[in-house]
Amino acid sequence: MPAISINIIRVGVENFTTADATTINNAINTMRSIYSTVGLTLRRVERWHITLAAANGRNVIDNNGEAETLTDEWTVPNNNVDVFVVKLYVGSVAGLSPVPGPCDKNAKGMDGTVVELIGGTTGQVLAHEVGHYLGLGHVTGDSTNLMFPSVPNGGVLTNGQGNTMKSHCFIEP
């Protein structure tokens, strides 16, 4: 079955609590469950972190530009989607991603996703942003769809969206 793998990168790791770890694990399970409905497996989840000192203040994201800078400055050298998890992304935005994300994570421009921990809805944010990276745009007319521009939503993916995701260069056989 086609599969995707992700790097969960906690930014400012010292500020993450045990409860945050649970939120992240639940989010991963939500994403796995949503993607399985279109025949896409979440294969490997690699865990990485950036310390507060190394993050140089990027653990608090102030605007979309700063989120982009975070993905510009850091990457994991593999073919997994980089997911930078932050505890605060000022404003109503809870996640950001390029559409589609590049195959070369050293290319100019944004080449990872940024996800804010927002409790029980974090799983939808994670699945939504990785969906963007895999090539999905927003679906504005249907709040049941995962790619509706806001969360919470119905978390549904169509087979057509699944096919789009499976055509990304990071998909493993």
Partner: protein, 332 residues
């Protein structure tokens, strides 16, 4: 293209108490980040947004990242009125809060705050020290303090990008709508920015659209000569935010004299890291600066030229498609 997802906030339930609960992380429906934004932007009956933000900056019950975020939001909301609270936050034992306050002070503070910032840069090290150093430099440049030394690290630059496959860019005048939108977006984040003094030039580089605001004080026949006499902030660059059909300030241009008729230009991120640097000579009322990209993670090589003449500003160059090697997180 870049896309975001938003949190759907139940607006009918918003009260001051609800927002305070949200800041404390006790509500699943409103994350602290959204509460901070609502306190700054929304008119919520019975809520003193500024007072709640000030409390959030100082309240040890809140997580450090919420307090640091409150500092940034309060600076933008209150402008110079935020200075007393920022000075208090500088003393915070939480480094991220103090560093956020130092950054904010760079944007709304004045020369009388330089000593407080200078003490921080020589003290604890780390992010607090670097943010305080940039805040100090920003105040020196904003106020044109020629008698104050600016101790900024020298920046190693990248080689000129290979021409084949590079992205070419050239500056043009934007339409009035994009110009106004970009200037307002800069002002929203940088309270010191004077909208009324700016000319704007637009640069399209690959998929990225930039609006380059140049202060008219440094244009015309005698403008460039002023740059060879004192530090200045003659330009701010706004990046297009496709998601919102809006802009955000991405780079601040700092110039300072480096010798007879010589100036150095640094285009830095709002947090102070240099991205593009160059030097130029003032001759016959004109300046030409050759820009190169800093040797910094994630920055693509650039060879650019900026000419400031009596007629206006000319911008041209090429950019590579790959960035300098990035940093790697630690494996768990």
């Amino acid at each position: 293209m870049i896309r975001a997802v938003h949190v759907d906030i139940p607006s009918e339930e918003l009260t001051q108490e609800v927002l305070q609960q949200a800041l404390a992380g006790r509500l699943d429906t409103i994350p602290p980040s959204a509460a901070l934004s609502l306190l700054s932007d929304a008119d919520i009956p019975g809520t003193d947004g500024h007072a709640v933000l000030q409390d959030a900056m100082q309240n040890d019950d809140f997580e450090p990242h919420v307090r640091a975020g409150a500092v940034k939001v309060y600076m933008r909301a209150a402008g110079e009125g935020a200075v007393p609270a920022l000075l208090q936050a500088l003393e915070s034992s939480e480094e991220s809060v103090a560093a956020s306050a130092a950054s904010a002070l760079g944007h709304v503070g004045s020369p009388k705050h330089l000593e407080a910032l200078h003490r921080l840069r020589s003290g604890k090290g780390g992010v607090l020290s670097t943010r305080a150093a940039f805040a100090e430099a920003l105040i020196v440049h904003r106020f044109g303090l020629a008698d104050r030394d600016v101790e900024m690290d020298s920046t190693e630059t990248q080689a000129t990008p290979v021409t084949t496959g590079a992205l070419a860019f050239v500056g043009v005048k934007p339409g009035p709508g994009r110009k106004d939108q970009a200037l307002k977006a800069i002002k929203r984040d940088l309270p010191w920015f004077d909208i009324g003094k700016q000319e704007v030039y637009e640069v399209q580089c690959g998929p990225r659209l930039l609006e380059v605001a140049v202060n008219r004080d440094f244009m015309g026949s005698d403008g460039p000569g002023k740059l060879s006499k004192r530090p200045a902030t003659p330009t701010v660059i706004a990046m297009q935010d496709v998601e919102y059909d809006d802009y955000y300030p991405g780079l601040i241009g700092l110039t300072r004299p480096t010798g007879k008729n010589r100036i150095k230009l640094e285009l830095t991120r709002l947090t102070g890291e240099p991205v593009y640097v160059g030097e130029g000579t003032v001759e016959r009322g004109e300046i030409a600066v050759d820009l190169r990209a800093a040797q910094a993670p994630g920055v693509a090589a650039v060879a650019g030229r900026i000419r400031l003449t009596a007629e206006g500003v000319e911008i041209s160059g090429i950019s590579g498609r790959r960035s300098a090697p990035k940093k790697n997180p630690e494996k768990e």
